[in-house]
Symmetry: C2
Subunit: 435 residues, 2 copies
């Protein structure tokens, strides 16, 4: 039986057109991060399992991770997310560094997923984090980077929205208003996460299994109906929860000052599951009814360094996956095609005697930064032209015995079919002609 | 016990300075590959073990690979090299594509190594391959890309050399001149690989264990002494092996025509082990006595698609690792430092009332493509200046109540301490001032 030519389940082969698309996405991520003064970092693709256990607990680890035992009896795993790695790295150096630290990475990650639209086993994730920023300001900046990326692709508030909440609000509601036990809170967090994915009846039923008293149920439903910041403000005021919500209220004012307000909507169901967040949490959603899904999620966390016995260092960050990003851009017609490479010129030669000249011209052009394809082997003009058409070169040159004799070559620009004659050893003129 | 902050054995954390260095190396790889019209590709970080077994055989697999069984009972491995993946991908599409295919990738790979200088468990490797090129010409181009990369960093024939041989020559010598059995050939390949790493006595002993007749031994030693192309030519002529060496002799003439000759040396001990090569093989060596090691290895292969039951498609390629590349560049003083980020401007504000203006100015600057760090929180001028010194911004701006009142701000250029006054909402002037 012949060997399979297909990639491993849930992973992708990136042929040149797909890879050019990926480079386009990643280059924009790098550009936007660096415009905001974020610095690049990366860690290993494999970490010891301990690190993930300490951060996420047994359940997630056993279900979702690619783990194995190495030859030195170490339990290791392919990284399923970047946060534990960045926490480990920051724990190493944060004491000697001035704050804030602003870091970004685009790692490849693997999770044990059932492959489906927008979810693969291997994906790349744009991660940005800021550590040690003043309260409320790191949150603003991280939202600027995340929305800045989508805007960098041409997306606007027509295309996406930032659904935002605060874990301090949720904790105040659960603890001080609903008086839930920690077990009930834990369960209700899971229900909230599903609130938008199920029918009203199903939601009622799930709530009823956790909360028995009608007044408490009514309060919880009142909370779930909040859909603007003013509504949230008056709700917190009415129930005397303003102090418990901490810095969230001044933060919401900064959304206006920073120009973010038009993208942001208050959403009581955004809690980011049982994750490590402790403050602002958010998800960016595609507004298209055809692709109603989260493109990005993140928030503020206070205690990520605890597992390394380090003092708390506040952080804010987000993760944004390449698969959901491409789906979002495609949905809104914001993704160019990358079928053809972008090569400036095809250099070809018609007989063996011209080969050395073609080598030399190609080399000189490349030295000037001109992307040059050399047509390998003696060429027939007809084949050269059909090749140029297929590959989309901007210009083409053919060297034969005539050209060697006269010391001049003809360069043809494909777009307008213009031609110039230049000296055989004058790559500068060719470069300017094609620019 | 606190969790370890160190990365997994044999892997690296890339903090921003190291990551900027890595980006510098990778950007040059991309640039040089694209100048030669090579197109980017990538595959998954995990492949089924079968693929590696089919290509490299049981021995290498068991010793060097990170393999495990997934939850679907598939035997998989983290990619230890890129060639099996590229062969699998080319096998998928080569029938529909015009030739040659020119592809490059910079994958992260893992091998079970004992960590030492230049050898880590995780590294990145620049891979370039050309498929379906006319005989001899793909070889020239691949050598141009490999040497072009090193030259792109400023290296010359003073710094590196290409040691080159041909498997057809070795096979002709072993079969037609030495009349070795395939078992003897196999063993002698391993000896040749070590020829330069052991003493003359040790080499003699190893040869004596495989070859018993003195005349045969003498012929082999004569072969091992060849160190120029003319010497090789007359050796092949003397022993009537010219035909068996196939296209190698015309190829060596092309080394001159293509400008490669000054980098290339004939070396009879370059055979690339028991690998899949069938024609030209080469290794690029650092010429410094302090770092006498191979930076890059590659060659021509004919039968890589066989394991997929596909027709033969000739290929030539090389791999070049990031660790040995950085060692090479460092050895010759060709690696800049990357301690500080390159941020164009620091925008700061002296009191809360100026925060919104600072948000706005930062946003406008970024929209113009100016890398802007916003100093988060109300700043003291002294702190702003020490921060700028540490981070190396090109310019700095402070907004306070005066600036809001007059609607003008002062921009200071750090390099020459020049200052200009511009309107608060005039990011264009700031941009030109800093360029």
């Amino acid at each position: 039986m012949a060997l399979s030519k297909l990639p491993y389940k849930g992973t992708r082969d990136f042929f040149p057109p797909e890879m050019r698309q990926r480079d386009f996405l990643f280059n924009k991520m790098r550009e936007i991060a660096e415009l905001h003064s974020y610095e690049p970092y990366d860690g290993p693709m494999v970490e010891e399992v301990e690190l993930y256990l300490a951060k996420s607990g047994e359940e997630l680890i056993n279900e979702q991770i690619y783990s194995f035992v190495d030859r030195g009896e170490r339990k290791v795993a392919i990284r399923p997310e970047m946060t534990p790695t960045v926490a480990r790295m920051v724990a190493q150096i944060h004491k000697e560094q001035s704050k804030p630290l602003r870091w970004y990475a685009i790692p490849n990650l693997m999770r044990y997923e059932k492959p489906q639209k927008g979810r693969l086993r291997e994906h790349w994730q744009f991660n940005c984090d800021i550590f040690g920023a003043p309260e409320g300001l790191g949150e603003i900046e991280i939202l600027q980077v995340a929305t800045g990326l989508l805007r960098g692709f041409g997306a606007t508030e027509e295309h996406f929205e930032v659904l935002l909440n605060d874990r301090r609000v949720v904790d105040a509601v659960f603890g001080q208003l609903l008086h839930l036990s920690s077990e009930q809170s834990h369960k209700l967090y899971k229900v909230i996460d599903k609130a938008k994915k199920v029918t009203a009846e199903a939601l009622d039923k799930m709530i009823g299994e956790i909360i028995y008293q009608d007044t408490v149920k009514a309060h919880f439903k009142e909370y779930l109906k909040l859909d603007t910041f003013p509504a949230l403000h008056s709700f917190l005021e009415r129930h005397e929860l303003k102090d418990a919500a901490g810095g969230f209220l001044p933060f919401t004012e900064r959304l206006h000052a920073s120009g973010l307000a038009k993208f942001v909507v208050y959403d009581p169901t955004i809690v980011r599951g049982l994750d490590y967040y402790t403050g602002v949490v958010f998800e960016i959603f595609d507004k298209s009814p055809d692709n109603r899904r989260a493109i990005c999620g993140g928030g503020a966390y206070a205690n990520l360094l605890q597992i390394f016995n380090e003092d708390p260092l506040p952080g804010v960050g987000f993760g944004l996956g390449d698969v959901t990003l491409a789906d979002f851009l495609k949905t809104h017609g914001l993704l160019p095609t990358f079928e053809k490479p972008s090569i400036s010129i095809l250099v070809s030669y018609l007989d063996q005697a011209a080969e050395a000249h073609a080598f030399e011209l190609s080399h000189s052009l490349r030295t000037l930064g001109v992307k040059t394809e050399l047509y390998l082997g003696e060429a027939k003009p007809k084949k050269v032209f059909s090749h140029t058409e297929r590959r989309g070169h901007r210009g083409v040159v053919m060297i034969g015995s005539n050209e060697i004799q006269t010391g001049e070559i003809e360069v043809k620009r494909i777009a307008d079919q213009e031609k110039i004659r230049v000296k055989l050893n004058d790559p500068n003129s060719i470069k300017s002609f094609l620019e």
